[in-house]
């Protein structure tokens, strides 16, 4: 691959150790400042009036009574924003339909979900702002609504967007993509996307066994503990400054600029510490509202969501309806695979359909594949990315069917996967041919793992499943300065989305220089300090951030060598950099004492000025990530309650820069997967309102729900990263749902095709049996 940075095997000193993270002390002492911790002098408080209905025409809005309350300073509605045409515009490395985005930020003609913002107000205190909401009068004409994805796809279903005609796209391996003209009738199906490879009819005709099943999953929320928060200031001369807790401050800037019609250079976004995002903080919610309010009053406007607002109005993952059909020959080789994935995107099109369809079968080397996907609008909040967006939904179906095939063929479920595993050279149905990958290693390590061989007792079962995520690179920048004492200031534009990437980046830079990692201070820069960075998502923080940090370091090291050459008065090629020192390349060069980074830094003024390096790059060569998980469960057959006894994550990290943070990602992702499998779901009433808008009824796992999560880090280097790093954040959430369902099958003899495996569902099935 051109434009990539090659892997080099070398002896490592820093990488692979477990230093304490640089943001750690601030976090254990309460000093770290998150979104809601920012307060600016003279700030006002904003709050949002939200639709109480899932679908309604907004006939009129009267804010006069609210504005009459002393202390209320401004009120805005959709009319305060420019309307935008429906077209897909690349902004901030994403293709966004701003007609939809402006409507999601604040409703225009219709409210499309329970919680849809309709009015935003600013007042001198939080309590006045909240009180003012009670005095806003909106005249609604309530419309019928549709919540369920299958219902929404039916002809004659209530339409969210009367002008929405299905976009039909077909991508056949080896051919140019084609589009068909859309159907004459509008529908809730925004898009139909088909991937094809080989000939599935012919493939299935050779099958000895075919299993075909349907699956359903519920939307689940990212569940970050920090609610969205922002403080925005717009000065009289139109300069905008925004503090926000997001996964991509550059993208927030781009979106705000477009939505508000402000030049990019006039907006500065300063990222705060991020209290969790998992994909849910990639897009704007409050920021455009706070800026617009501040544009009226020219005072800082602070807005913080309540937990209720987070659940009702920020993006959960989609719900999915999935059909999977897989055929195998007698020996268990997959001959054909077919899937249909219907995903609800919420109020506006744009579910993670591409990711779901791409990852669906990609763990396996299959000659004949077809995957059809539908992107379906429903009266729910617009979905957002959630850790490996889309992939767990497809994998739940595929990995369940794989388990059934293994059983029918009397093959160990890991062996069936080993037989069919994608490896280096496998061409996927979406075109990519895999470089060196570690999928087989994870499967083999799983088979040999002690946890795969512990005997089980009555009512217990063991399940396995696998996951794949392509990982991404994308636009990334960093700037590195050598301080005058030889320490290093590294400014990055990716967000430490929690995993500890600041630590990992410091370690990579330290490794390059040959110094201790605590000599490298990593700061996340604001949007005025660096070139554009894509959102920190898709497991790219340590991979892409690492590459630009390494390249910046290499530039600075090159400069250090130049300074040493100058000092010694020798040609540059007679200086080498080793272990933190510039040294003569050989004894022939002269008997110079090595110069440390500190020596060189101290004399930088004399040798030409400060030393720095920077890198701006559309990073390529993300290493595909694969993992295998083993789960043991115990089912209480009298209550339907499923207990996780053991959970083992075996995953290829490429290279674990900081193994503890890799384990942390595996454990955190697995437990989110456990929540998805067992108890998390959005519950809507017949009135289309979300019923579980708090953590008491939206049941994320608590500490006593889960066991220790065993981890095994496989390291098959990514050929396109200097240290072999792959992304690791997404994969761990993919296997748990199917692994748990497969384990429950072993314990009960019942296959569950819909999530969550909540006690009522499990008990009903056991009773029926």
């Amino acid at each position: 691959m051109s434009d990539t940075v090659a892997y080099e095997e070398k002896k490592l000193k820093i990488i692979g150790t477990r230093p304490i993270r640089p943001d750690g002390v601030d976090k254990v002492t309460g000093r770290a400042r998150y979104g809601a911790d920012i307060n600016l002098p003279g700030q006002l408080f904003g709050s949002v009036y939200r639709s109480p209905y899932p679908h309604a025409i907004i006939k009129s809005i009267d804010v006069s009574a609210a504005l009459a309350i002393p202390g209320v300073k401004a009120a805005i509605t959709g009319d305060d924003f420019e309307d935008m045409p429906s077209q897909f515009i690349p902004v901030g490395e994403m293709v966004v339909n701003f007609r939809d985005m402006t409507r999601n930020v604040i409703a225009r003609e219709k409210a499309l979900y329970d919680g849809h913002p309709i009015v935003a107000i600013a007042a001198i205190s939080e309590s006045i702002a909240k009180e003012a909401l009670k005095h806003i009068k909106v005249d609604f004409e309530i419309l019928p609504h549709v919540i369920d994805v299958v219902e929404a796809m039916k002809p004659g279903a209530t339409l969210l967007h009367e002008e929405q005609y299905t976009l039909i796209e077909r991508k056949r391996l080896g051919s140019e993509p084609t589009t068909e003209s859309p159907p004459k009738e509008p529908s809730n199906i925004a898009k139909r996307l088909t991937w094809e490879k080989g000939d599935i009819e012919n493939g299935f005709s050779k099958a000895h066994i075919i299993i075909e099943k349907e699956f359903n999953t519920k939307p689940v929320h990212q569940g970050y503990i920090e609610p969205h928060a922002t403080v925005a200031t717009c000065t009289e001369d139109g300069q905008v400054e925004v503090y926000t807790c997001s996964q991509g401050h550059f993208v927030i800037r781009s979106q705000c600029a477009k939505l508000l019609g402000i030049e990019v250079s006039k907006i500065k976004v300063i990222p705060t510490e991020l209290g969790g995002g998992f994909g849910g903080k990639n897009n704007v919610y409050l920021e455009p509202l706070a800026i617009m309010l501040s544009k009226i009053v020219h005072r800082p406007v602070k807005m913080v969501m309540s937990r209720n607002e987070v659940f009702r109005a920020t993006g959960p993952s989609p719900a999915g309806h999935v059909k999977v059909k897989i055929g195998c020959d007698k020996n268990g080789n997959i001959v054909a695979a077919d899937a249909q994935i219907d995903m609800q995107s919420g109020a506006f099109p744009g579910s993670p359909l591409p990711q779901a369809t791409i990852t669906c079968f990609t763990r396996y080397d299959i000659e004949n594949v077809r995957v059809i996907g539908h992107d379906v609008t429903t009266n729910r909040p617009k979905v957002a990315a959630y850790r490996a967006p889309g992939a767990p939904i497809a994998a739940f179906g595929v990995e369940s069917v794989m388990d059934e095939l293994a059983e029918k063929l009397s093959i160990d479920p890991l062996d069936l996967r080993i037989m069919n595993a994608a490896k280096e050279g496998t061409q996927t149905y979406y075109g990519v041919t895999f470089p060196q990958i570690g999928f087989l290693e994870t499967l083999k390590r799983a088979k040999a793992h002690k946890n795969y061989n512990i005997p089980l007792e009555k009512n217990q079962g063991r399940g396995v499943a696998t996951g794949f995520w392509m990982n991404i690179g994308n636009d990334t920048t960093s700037s590195l300065n050598v301080n005058d004492d030889g320490t290093i200031a590294l400014t990055i534009g990716t967000i430490d989305v929690a995993g500890g990437s600041r630590s990992s980046l410091a370690m990579m830079v330290a490794e390059e220089f040959g110094i201790d990692s605590d000599k490298v201070r990593v700061t996340t820069g604001d949007t005025s300090q660096l070139g554009f960075n894509f959102v920190t998502a898709g497991s790219r923080g340590t991979f892409a951030g690492g590459i630009v940090a390494i390249l910046a370091a290499r530039k600075a090291i090159e400069e250090c060598k130049i300074r040493a050459a100058k000092t010694w008065n020798v040609p540059l090629d007679e200086v080498v950099w080793e272990d933190g020192y510039a040294r003569p390349a050989s004894s022939n060069v002269g008997g110079f004492d090595p110069l440390s980074l500190a020596d060189i830094a101290k004399n930088a003024t004399k040798t030409g000025g400060p030393i720095a390096g920077h890198s701006e790059k559309n990073v390529q060569g993300a290493g595909p990530g694969f993992g295998t998980q083993i789960v043991d469960v115990e089912v209480d057959k009298e209550t339907g309650s499923v207990k996780i006894l053991r959970h083992t994550v075996i995953q290829d990290a490429g290279k674990a820069i900081h193994p503890a943070y890799v384990e942390g990602q595996y454990q955190g992702g697995a437990v989110q997967g456990i929540g998805w499998a067992l108890n998390e779901e959005y519950i809507y009433g017949d009135d289309g309102k979300l019923q579980n808008t708090g953590f008491l009824d939206y049941r994320v796992p608590v500490a006593s729900d889960v066991p220790f999560i065993d981890t095994d880090i496989v390291e098959v280097p990514n050929p396109y990263h200097p240290y072999g790093v792959r992304g690791i954040g997404e994969v761990p959430i993919i296997p748990p749902t199917a692994a748990i369902a497969n384990a429950v099958y072993k314990a009960t003899g019942i296959r569950f095709n819909s999530l969550p495996l909540s006690p009522p569902k499990v008990l009903a099935a056991i009773t029926k049996k």
Binding site: G30, A32, A36, I225, E226, P227, A660, E663, V671, V702
Partner: protein, 157 residues
């Protein structure tokens, strides 16, 4: 009568503040006393991010009215370390990488300290049940539980 004048002790220091009668202790701690280490994740008692000690009891500051703390002692995360010395739990959280985004961390530390003061030798299960009122979405709890068990061992000496 508009705002109420309240005197209390916070992290050992005398303090006073004015508050509305319906204002929560969490809001006063964060917004008036500017001790933003105590976090708000839900304001309904479900997440534990706002955990503080109130006269030696572990409570959710989001479900406590500020007017109730007249004459009481409040301990927050800001008072956990002693000068240069981090509390053993704080140190163990760092060593075990028991935090990721860290938004839950102050609440976990306050709750874990309350546990170890009461039960210096808890089992894994006891740690998990005691901390069930503190949500963490990042770590899967593994390293948090490890850190607390390890801290307990060191504190027992």
């Amino acid at each position: 009568m508009t705002r109420r004048h309240i005197e209390a002790k916070i992290n050992g220091d005398n303090c006073d503040f004015l508050c509305e009668s319906n204002e929560t202790l969490l809001s006063v701690i964060r917004n008036q006393l500017q001790l933003t280490g105590t976090k708000e994740g839900c304001s309904t008692g479900d997440c534990g991010a706002c955990s503080v000690m109130l006269d030696g009891r572990l409570v959710c500051s989001c479900l406590t009215l500020a007017v109730e703390v007249e004459g009481k002692n409040i301990d927050t995360i800001e008072g956990m370390s002693n000068g240069e010395d981090l509390h053993i739990l704080q140190r163990k959280f760092l060593e075990h990488a028991a935090l990721q985004c860290g938004i839950c961390t102050p609440g976990f530390l306050i709750a874990a300290r309350a546990l170890l003061e009461k039960n210096p030798n808890p089992t894994e299960t006891e740690v998990r049940y005691w901390l069930a009122g503190n949500l963490c979405r990042c770590t899967g709890y593994h390293k948090i539980v490890e850190a607390v068990l390890d801290a307990a061992e060191e504190m027992r000496g």
